[in-house]
Subunit: 204 residues, 4 copies
DNA sequence: GATGAATGAGTCTTCATTCAT
DNA sequence: AATGAATGAAGACTCATTCAT
């Protein structure tokens, strides 16, 4: 076989990653064997290893790629100017996360949980993840400041704290949906609205 | 040989569980070997196996015991009548979670993440966990109803949604603290206050 | 496609052999991978395999070619009539062996050791090697007879034994130079002279 | 099983080493698989690995143990005072090497060749080996000085050169016996006598 | 003729579990 | 009851070789 084209190479990598995702999500990162992935990918051991030199690299790729792809989808929502009001923003972002299971056998929420757990023992992954979430939290902080300006958040509360609260809600949505399974984006959004008291309070 | 007393037996089980926690949290559930735990416990392989017949049982015990112990600490806060107002409740519960970590070599947040991940592939654990969190959410729903009665939550929002939002915040606090590490209980509580707009709105 | 010329074919074979030598000597016969050789040769896997159909063939070629090339250099020294006296002959032959190593990335002594070791498990190589060394020993026997005629060796000693001793010295020089590294041709020659006692004994 | 006695432990190690020797000598160091050794030892994979933590350690042990055991046998011959005359010494040492196949399936000469080859790529082994042979050569130098005092070697030749020559003969005997197989200790000894010319020269 | 991606049997090593003492 | 040596199935990864292009 002559040299393979770059697209074909990328397609093969994607094919392997797809297989890895599907196995990881079913069995977890460490309980998945390379053989599982190899069989799922439809390729041979050697082929898989020629694209990803070790199981660890595959794990890193599976997790960071998820992170990056999700990032691409969420950023536009966070960047919108003026920012969406709290409940709307929450509804949009959680819906995006929920919808992300674009590919068959791929559920972002499960992968996210796996990645968080793995980050506890994989320093490199931990760093990458921290960088990524720090960035998201930065964007949320900007959004929070916008809310304060728009009278949608208390001005005396540090925007950073609002960002932390909001990020918690997002993370928690992922966990709750993954484990209990009965949480819809609208529900958390409604819950936040219920706790905000905005309407109630404003109704003189 | 004389039969071992029940207390001694319980003490041994605790000793092994302690060892398991410390290893699990450092290495993760699957990357931890029985040998790690055996060495950490200071007992022999045979002894450990006579108390926990398999690694899976040990994993189950480590996770469910955490769940139960935490439950015992949080229940009183949720049960208080009348319920604490939203921000206070959040502050109390997260602080309890945070404090629970103090025990040497034991960090509830890490164990929780491990447990959630494991629940994805262990049906029995998943059921146990669901049951437990469903109960917590039930309590939260009762609390939310209390808030609505007290004018601390919008009455038209389903109490269930408020409970879901609140549980998300708790889960998310655990994740954010485990990964980013720079989140204090007061901060998320303040963030919620900032988003509630209660004071602001009520001002005029 | 045009058939490749015989010279070009021979040049390619030499190029591959050169690459193989350089790898073998660095890593040993079995720890060298075909990929090492392929990369060192600058050719493709397919190309290398079209010249040498297997790793074993390449090993055989690397070892026997060395043997043959060395043979070509040593034969003239052994054939000289009348034969050089013992110490001179030893000096010349070891110097020739030593000099043969100069070629970049090629050290005959290392290759010889590899070949000897491989001959222990490769029957074909063992036969080839035996034939070759039996021939050399035959030449040495002729030389020994010459020495006896010239009064340079005891006439009552079987010439064959002298040949065996002499071949041992040569083999041993290779080993000692390869492992200890601090042995010069003149030194072994001088050592033999010292043990010969010729001058001393003849003195009175 | 309770703690094993030290002797039993040593016996097991010996049993594994024996198995390793027998395989190494048949197949060579790298072509031997751990599975070969495991099967030959009659133990399980885990057991073998609990005594020798890696194949490399086993190789090191196999080679250095040979070196040490041989050392114990040869040292007394070299230390004798006054030293045996050259031919006798050569005869004794080569005979000792030859006889060394104490154990079934163990041939020192083959192991020596394997060790020398391995030392080319294993720095640790190379160092160990150098130290060992440097010591032997030191002893030979002392012997050579004795010969010179006794008029059995030319006094003007550096004793070191005589030692180098002698060590070459020993190494070469090993190689020649391993490859050509038809060399007896007496023959090399006789060959050296024939080259010494002692009797001839002394005749008049 | 040449290329180099793909194959898959085979390698070393680990580790949950057992059981003779 | 307790010990810890032993088991052996299974895991990650390699590498000689092939063959579609």
């Amino acid at each position: 076989m002559p040299k393979i084209s770059d697209e074909k190479r990328a397609a093969r990598r994607a094919q392997i990653l797809e297989a890895a995702w599907s196995c990881f999500q079913r069995e977890g990162l460490h309980a998945t064997t390379m053989d599982d992935i190899i069989r799922a990918s439809g390729l041979s051991a050697g082929a898989v290893y020629s694209y990803y030199p070790s199981k660890d690299e595959l794990i890193m790729a599976a997790v960071t790629t998820s992170l990056t792809e999700l990032s691409g989808l969420i950023a536009p929502i966070l960047i919108a100017e003026p920012p969406l009001p709290p409940q709307r923003l929450l509804g949009e972002v959680t819906a995006t996360i929920d919808r992300f299971a674009v590919r068959k056998d791929y559920d972002l929420k499960r992968i996210a949980l796996l990645g968080w757990t793995e980050a506890q023992r994989n320093e490199q992954l931990r760093q990458t993840m921290r960088g990524y979430y720090a960035m998201v939290r930065g964007q949320l902080e900007r959004v929070a400041t916008g809310w304060q300006r728009a009278g949608q958040a208390a001005p005396e509360t540090p925007a950073k704290d609002i960002a932390k609260l909001f990020l918690s809600i997002l993370f928690g949505f992922v966990v709750q949906a993954a484990i209990l399974g009965d949480v819809a984006p609208e529900e958390v959004a409604a819950g936040l609205a219920g706790l905000s008291l905005t309407d109630v309070a404003r109704a003189p």
